[in-house]
Symmetry: C2
Subunit: 143 residues, 2 copies
DNA sequence: TCTTAAAAAGAATTTTTTGTCCTTTAAAGA
DNA sequence: TCTTTAAAGGACAAAAAATTCTTTTTAAGA
């Protein structure tokens, strides 16, 4: 089981972080990214394709083709990737799964979860890839 | 998609909350609980069976049989149900899915998520069903 | 004791998610 | 122009999760 994001979303986030620590618009092919992330090439490219529709990454076909960030790292937030892959549904649903959970008819942890949810949203939307860069490098240094 | 718990875990949590607002050791059959929670009887009873192995609920077969809390509401925390159904894995895994994420080799949101994770754990372990009772009643009043 | 009602157990099915493969399209460069 | 390489896209396979069905066991009470 994953923590909160789907496996697909995790891979998408990892792939974008990978691209964010590289120089602007340098192209990486799916094979290279997949090796680094240790997941199947097809899976990575599927995710990067989805992010291409969303305009977050760009792609180039053919020899010397691959993927690159379509925007500046300062213009991309992790929440953009989450939005593109999993959607923002999790930020609107009851953590205990109760239908119709709201401030009028709250579940027992409604308020507490509301705060945690906001912190989570903030974690994903406060800093851009640019600002996360240092922290990312320390994780993905090896390449 | 669910927020953080599996569907099974959500149902288990809801079922236990249902039982917690009733009088001690009063028996409810799966059918009644399933009607209230608006999910199939078989699904509810599967979950309650799992919680029976864990000693959180008790069960009685045959006519007038059903399920009841095996401990006092003051002795049960939501985290116990999560532990029994989904396990505590989510409290030990990288939210971005990076393998080997740790304070030595942190992902870009490692620290922030660490705090959020703790708050989440606390939300589930601080108050007992006894203490949550009021809040639960306001949600599950109708019965 | 017999009938009925309910959980327990496990098998079977369906749905969703994840992962693979194959064909098409596009670009680079010889 | 031809060959090679890579993404795009679709179809499919495998695995996991959710849901349903069937049978067995147990207890209540007539």
């Amino acid at each position: 089981m994953t923590v909160i994001f789907s496996k697909q979303c995790e891979i998408a986030l990892q792939a974008v972080l990978f691209l964010s620590i590289k120089k602007d618009k340098i192209i990486y092919k799916a094979t290279d990214i997949s090796k680094e992330l240790k997941v199947p090439k097809e899976f990575v490219s599927k995710m990067l394709q989805k992010l291409t529709y969303s305009g977050i990454v760009g792609s180039k076909k053919g020899k010397k083709g691959g993927f690159y960030l379509a925007k500046r790292p300062s213009q991309i937030k992790l929440i953009d990737i989450v939005k593109a892959i999993d959607g923002l549904e999790i930020f609107n649903k009851c953590v205990l799964g109760f239908p119709g959970c709201s401030s009028e008819e709250p579940c027992p942890v409604h308020e507490t979860w509301g705060k945690i949810r906001e912190e989570t949203y903030e974690m994903l939307s406060k800093e851009s890839l640019e600002q996360l860069k240092e922290k990312t490098v320390s994780k993905l240094l090896k390449i």
